[in-house]
């Protein structure tokens, strides 16, 4: 309590400061939505002016959401929130834990919501009856002798008083999660051609190489289109290798990434090459070979005594839809045939059959992120929704019934209070008194 007099403490625990900080955050956040972020100095010189660019630079406007002053505002909000909540929570806890059977009787008679009636039964019988009928409505009653009267008390939703504090705590939890991500996480990307393997990705901002600690291979990239020509799906088949051994594989899509050892690989872009990827399998021996060849070039195969080439291709937009393959194993005239991208065909030669699959070669653009804080952030989000729900839609409802002997009758004074939705509680209160009156009449 002594703390309350400390001016620094009261400054940081005031709601006025919270309103002020939230207001400043709302206003300053606009800046970064109007002035493009993370552009080069020359961009600002060109689009604004030399002097404006300098002012921007000094105030960290080009990266304002991580500037010292914006982070400072967020810190102020958090400190304010913590101090304010610590200041108030003990009081709220006291209210939750309060012994409501000790409430001064004068306070009960002064409550706004009140009703009185007289029942033709003895105090004890009435108390039992009331307890029973309240129990039937979900109210658990306690009772205690107070002077000449018997006090009954029941409450619902006392814990709902913590709702606001769950919300406030959730904001702190989200900040902690974001901080963990900032400190222990990283973001990077890599452009990985089909069939190729990498053990390194490149940091998002600095382009510095980051070793993965394992290898990732792109086996295949597929681009699916709608009939309209709009992209329907980008799909990469990724394989994870450790010491040359396959440990995990998955087809990834946008919105469906692969996670391995805390690193998540997201499908983010692709690049089409002028080259083609061909796979030739000897149907009998099962021997297969994959080659990459440029358009209208041919190559000799290493495993089969043959050569192969692409002599024609059809495209739509950036992507190849059909290719014309030329294949010759020097056993009779060369075979030529059209192949739909991604399909395979069986080629019958004089003494052998080959299965040939071919497609345009792509590189898949992977975004790679490690964010150990994300689950903390999600926990905070869950807490926030729970807390908001409790704070907004639940209330702490309390009712007291004071029973006093009057000759062979008993007079009842019922009072009640709720911390939220008072109109709703008032309705409930009076329908409850009506029911209790009729119940105790029988």
């Amino acid at each position: 309590m002594q703390n309350k007099k400390n001016p620094i403490y009261s400054f940081f625990s005031s709601v006025k400061l919270a309103l002020f900080t939230l207001f400043l955050l709302a206003i300053t956040s606009i800046i970064g939505t109007v002035i493009p972020q993370k552009e080069s100095f020359s961009y600002y010189v060109q689009n604004y002016s030399e002097s404006a660019a300098k002012v921007f630079h000094v105030l960290s406007i080009p990266d304002m959401y991580s500037s010292w002053w914006f982070l400072g505002l967020l810190t102020l909000l958090v400190v304010n929130l913590i101090v304010c909540s610590f200041n108030r929570f003990p009081g709220v806890w006291k209210q939750i834990k309060a012994d409501n059977l000790e409430t001064p009787l004068t306070r009960l008679s002064k409550m706004r919501l009140k009703d009185k009636w007289v029942a033709n039964t003895s105090e004890e019988t009435l108390a039992t009856e009331l307890t029973q009928s309240l129990a039937g409505k979900g109210w658990k009653t306690e009772q205690r002798q107070r002077d000449d009267s018997l006090l009954l008390f029941a409450q619902k939703g006392a814990i709902s008083r913590t709702g606001v504090y769950i919300v406030h705590a959730s904001i702190i939890v989200i900040f902690i999660g974001a901080l963990i991500g900032e400190l222990y996480g990283f973001k990077g990307s890599v452009m990985l051609p089909e069939t190729k393997t990498t053990d390194t990705i490149y940091a998002y901002d600095t382009q510095e190489p980051i070793p993965l600690g394992f290898e990732v291979r792109c086996d295949r990239f597929d681009l699916e289109m709608y009939a309209t020509g709009m992209p329907k799906a980008y799909r990469s088949h990724l394989t994870i290798l450790e010491n040359g051994k396959v440990t995990f594989e998955k087809n990834i899509l946008v919105n469906d990434p692969l996670t391995y050892k805390g690193l998540t690989f997201y499908q983010s872009s692709y690049k089409g090459y002028q080259d083609f990827l061909l796979k030739i399998t000897d149907q009998e021996s099962g021997e297969e070979e994959t080659v990459i060849i440029p358009f209208q070039r041919r190559t000799n195969l290493a495993t089969h005594k043959a050569s192969i080439g692409i002599i024609n291709a059809e495209t739509r937009g950036q992507s190849v839809t059909r290719i014309k393959v030329w294949f010759d194993d020097e056993q009779g005239p060369a075979s030529t045939f059209w192949l739909k991208a991604g399909d395979q065909a069986t080629v019958e030669r004089t003494d052998k059959k080959f299965i040939i699959a071919g497609k345009q070669m792509y590189a898949t653009g992977l975004q790679v992120a490690k964010d150990p804080g994300v689950w903390v952030v999600y926990l905070g989000c869950g807490m926030m929704i729970l807390g908001l729900f409790v704070a907004f839609f639940m209330s702490h409802k309390r009712i007291w019934l004071l029973l006093t002997k009057e000759d062979d009758k008993t007079s009842v004074m019922m009072s009640g209070s709720a911390n939220k939705n008072k109109a709703g509680f008032e309705k409930m209160f009076f329908s409850l008194t009506t029911e209790l009156k009729t119940d105790s009449d029988n």
Partner: protein, 284 residues
């Protein structure tokens, strides 16, 4: 009947609904009340059918996605939610004049969707980034929030109009503004509507963050749309605190309800057309 016909009809039924509520308000034609309600419910059901039909049509075209993925569809859903929330308020608080201030927003949204240039009404397939259930959850929750804020702004306007007049303190039918609910009641409904909206906006921002994380590995990237939704969220957080801890009410809350909705409009519309960003609706 196809969905575009049904949704086209909806635009006019909401206009007619608006006119009915305006007549009830201006000419104190209380007798028309039930007719206005029934008519609005029917219009709402027609729109519901239109939305469901549009969903089926996209399914039949092989696209299989909820009708919530471009500006037009979002505007239609926005109007639908406004009317839904309004009908809920009418039923809960037993007052009809609010219709004259809430239903026009639904009409304006539908009219904008139907007649504004640059709005593509076609059912179009989804690009890969938008193929996510989190996106659907995100759009639905955000728009429930936005619709609640639209209704709250309507109530704020109603409060200010009533507050300016001589009949501020009356609720009898003698004067025009006397037919409006008591100031205290309007104030209370405004607050409750904003609280409702705040909860949904919070869920909307969170589901949006989860979607972004599943698509790009970043739950928050300060893109203009995200930032504006946060600004809007701050505005309503300020409003709730000012009311709850500093006892603000009446005129100030009414203004904040209007001001908050302007921020909503900017988040929803302004960002797409005035600023640049990741969100897809801007392309029409």
């Amino acid at each position: 009947m196809d969905s575009s016909q049904l949704l086209g009809i909806t635009t006019f039924t909401y206009l007619f609904s608006t006119i009915l509520y305006a007549i009830i308000f201006i000419f104190k034609a209380k007798k028309l009340g039930p007719a206005a309600t029934v008519f609005t419910i029917v219009a709402f059901l027609v729109q519901t059918a239109g939305i469901i039909l549009r969903w089926q049509e996209s399914y039949a075209m092989g696209y299989d996605h909820a009708p919530l993925t471009n500006m037009y569809e979002s505007v239609v859903f926005f109007a639908w939610t406004i009317v839904g929330i309004y009908l809920l308020i009418e039923w809960k608080f037993k007052t009809r004049v609010i219709g004259a201030f809430a239903v026009p927003f639904a009409f304006l949204a539908m009219a904008y969707g139907s007649f504004a240039s640059g709005i593509n009404k076609e059912i179009s397939p989804l690009i890969p980034a938008l193929q996510s259930n989190w996106l659907i959850a995100h759009v639905v929750t955000c728009f429930i929030g936005y619709a609640a804020f639209a209704v709250a702004a309507g109530l704020g306007i109603m409060y200010l109009i009533k507050n300016m007049s001589d009949s501020r303190q009356t609720t009898n039918d003698e004067s025009l503004l006397g037919t409006l609910p008591a100031l205290k009641v309007i104030d209370d409904i405004t607050h409750k509507t904003m609280v409702f909206g705040f909860l949904w906006l919070s869920v909307g921002i969170i589901t949006g963050a989860i979607w972004a994380n599943s698509a790009w590995g970043t739950y928050w990237s300060w893109d203009p749309k995200e930032t504006w939704s946060l600004i809007t969220w701050f505005v309503y957080a300020i409003t709730l605190h000012a009311r709850y801890t500093r006892g603000w009410g009446g005129v100030r809350i009414a203004w904040l309800a209007i001001f908050g909705f302007i921020s909503v409009i900017f988040t929803y519309y302004g960002v797409n057309f005035l600023l640049s960003g990741l969100h897809s609706y801007g392309s029409g």
